[in-house]
């Protein structure tokens, strides 16, 4: 940024005395933005990285530089990999489901029908709810004894005895994914709806004139044009889902048998229950790196899509 700003400054004849040189002005004006960004965004990341290379712990009062030993430990830590896989599984499942269902919702809401405004507003309610409230609500819905889900399934004859949704390793994670899908699909639908509205109507009308049916129009016109929005929305959602914390924390605390432990809950436990800031920072850094890789994959794919479109 500063380099770009310097160039015109050099070319111009210097005005002496009264005003600062243009480059300095630019730098001066950028300073507040830079300082605020650096202090809230850059510094914590760097400090986290540094902490992850130390054995800092509030309990043992140690604070020595230990190189990569935290990462070596992390590499061989089954708890970490357990949480890593759960987080990836959660991210993939919830992102895919939310994208597919969100797309369906967006397509419906894109059509003109009576009361569309109302439906669009109502659709956003789950998303506007605090996640802790959603968590408690799903806690009751899927309650093993008195939950309505068990009640309905039991009376519909689909199960022959109550399922303990949060107490079984087979169902705990799935239930959390369902809760997340319910909550965040409206967000996806909203993003995709804006994307759909940028698809020119003339294209669709032209296709209809050529005799294309609904499905064909969707598959060959709307979807390709929606692709960049879809990818960006997916990226947002994936990065968001990767940090899942409240649902797990409220509903299961990571149990049973670590089957819902995610990287966020693990790093919370390591950082704030055992107060091992060094190792906890290493877990957080590993999260950061994984998120970076996810973002990279999405972006590369996105660039390829855009290139191909051109």
């Amino acid at each position: 940024m500063s380099a770009a700003a310097t160039i015109p400054g050099i070319g111009r004849p210097r005005r002496s005395g009264k005003a600062l040189p243009g480059a300095l002005w630019a730098l001066l004006l950028l300073t507040p933005a830079f300082v605020s960004l650096a202090s809230v965004s850059f510094y914590p990341i760097v400090n986290g990285l540094y902490l992850s290379l130390t054995n800092t712990s509030l309990i043992t009062q140690e604070q020595d530089f230990t190189g990569f030993s935290n990462y070596v430990e992390l590499w061989g830590d089954p708890q970490f990999w357990n949480a890593w896989w759960h987080t990836m599984w959660f991210t993939a499942a919830s992102t895919v489901l939310e994208t597919v269902i969100g797309l369906g919702m967006a397509l419906i809401l894109c059509e003109a029908f009576k009361g569309r405004g109302l439906v669009r507003a109502a659709m956003l309610v789950p998303w506007a709810m605090p996640t802790v409230v959603t968590s408690k609500m799903f806690g009751w819905l899927f309650d093993g004894q008195n939950g309505i889900v068990n009640y309905i399934l039991l009376h519909a004859g689909l199960i022959d005895q109550n399922i303990n949704w949060y107490g079984s390793t087979d169902t705990a994670m799935i239930t959390i994914i369902i809760a997340d899908v319910w909550k965040t699909t409206p967000f996806m639908a909203l993003l995709l709806l804006t994307g759909l509205q940028t698809v020119p109507n003339s294209l669709i009308e032209a296709a209809r004139m050529d005799g294309a049916k609904g499905w064909i129009t969707f598959w060959y016109i709307r979807l390709p044009l929606l692709m960049p929005t879809l990818l960006i929305a997916g990226l947002f959602r994936a990065l968001d889902a990767f940090r899942v914390f409240d649902l797990v924390y409220v509903l299961t605390g990571g149990g049973p048998a670590d089957s819902t432990e995610t990287l966020s809950t693990l790093s919370y436990k390591v950082l704030f229950s055992t107060l091992q800031f060094g190792y906890g920072s290493a877990v957080s850094t590993a999260m950061f790196v994984t998120e970076g890789i996810i973002a990279l994959v999405f972006c590369l794919y996105l660039i390829r899509q855009i290139r191909r479109a051109q």
Binding site: G144, Q145, D246
Partner: protein, 448 residues
Amino acid sequence: MDESRKGPRSGSKSIGHVTIADRRQFLIGSAGLLGAAAFGAGTSLGIGRARAQSRAEISFASAAFFGKETFGDLIKAFNESQDRILVKNIELPPPSSSTEVYQGLVQQLARRTGTPDVFSQDVIWIAGFAAAGWALPLDEYFPADKRSAYFTGTLNACTYGGKLTALPWFMDSGMFYYRKDVLEKHGGKVPETWTDMATIAAAAQKAGDIDFGYLWQGKQAEVLVCDAVEIITSNNGAILAPDGKSSLINQKGAVEAIQFLHDTIATNKVSPQDVLSWDEEPSRQPFTSGKAMFMRNWSYVYPIAQDAKASQVVDKVGVAPLPSFPGGKSSACLGGYQLGVNANSKQREAAIELLTWLSSTETQHRIALNFGLAPTRPALFQDAQIKKEQPFMASLEKVFTGATARPITPEYAKVTLALQSGISKALVSGNIQAEMDATAAQIDKIVG
């Protein structure tokens, strides 16, 4: 915005809390300054000089408990009772936010500035604070003859490395709740062994007198460790070896005990599978709505069970010490808050005086009546006024006698996470020995 993105940052809430505490301290500090200024004004008018100068100023930090009064009122009473020491009260979050209280205390103690001079601590933090050198050993102030006035189990929890580093304050423990009316139909005798308990519970379930035989807490959380400590100790087992340097959780006593917990769900089916995801409240609800015969829980359940608005079992609930295995002794997991003195306190004598006052018979008596928190001095359970106003509490002496500390180690925070995960895995999978071996290996690595 989406709440889930707060994940990694949720800690900042807690850190935020600490800054709030700091700010509060700052405010208290400035209030102190104002006070000093007021005193200054006072002295210029010729009043209270001697008093202002001779009072030692110390601070007291504790999780905030409520009752008919607060700890702030308690400290005020102390300040008014004498004119040598002036205590300022630093209020931490309530005990339900135990992790935040812990963080707040650790941050203050780690600064080694001597603030707070006196603090209260959950029993599981005592060893960590002692090992870090933050808690002053109290042996010289409280020799053996003064200690004998407290429950032994509480004293054990207050001792680290052979030194008394905390003074018992008030306590709670796990206990065995039973339904008097249902038990009457099935022998009428409160079971003293786990096997008897399971047999009676299964019979009552079979007869259709009750939905669930026995409720306990199997959620992967701290309470699971409490349930485990109780049942393991009642089979003469232990989680840590006496020297605290290795784990005994894969030994016979512990494995049999965990096997019994697993059997309650899988074999004799006296417990619903749901206990695996239940902590205290979810297990309390079916009990007070009359669906269960036996339950392990803390003392808070009793007042709820006696409240006609919340309970279907008013006057039908009894409390006893938890059962044990043949040849073992009933054991109750110890909870509650104990007192400590900051090793860096600059006003040691004053701090000891406050500590002594807080733990005195009179103050514990007052806390029992006004906060409903049970005393750590057995003698108080015979007190006529407590018997009259808190009859349930007075009946708990027998339960508290069996109070057992959770593993005493400065690494408790790591040990408990390993235990929660390992025991939960054992209960879910049924491979008790294999999971306990893995857990023992993990704990050995932490404490060894």
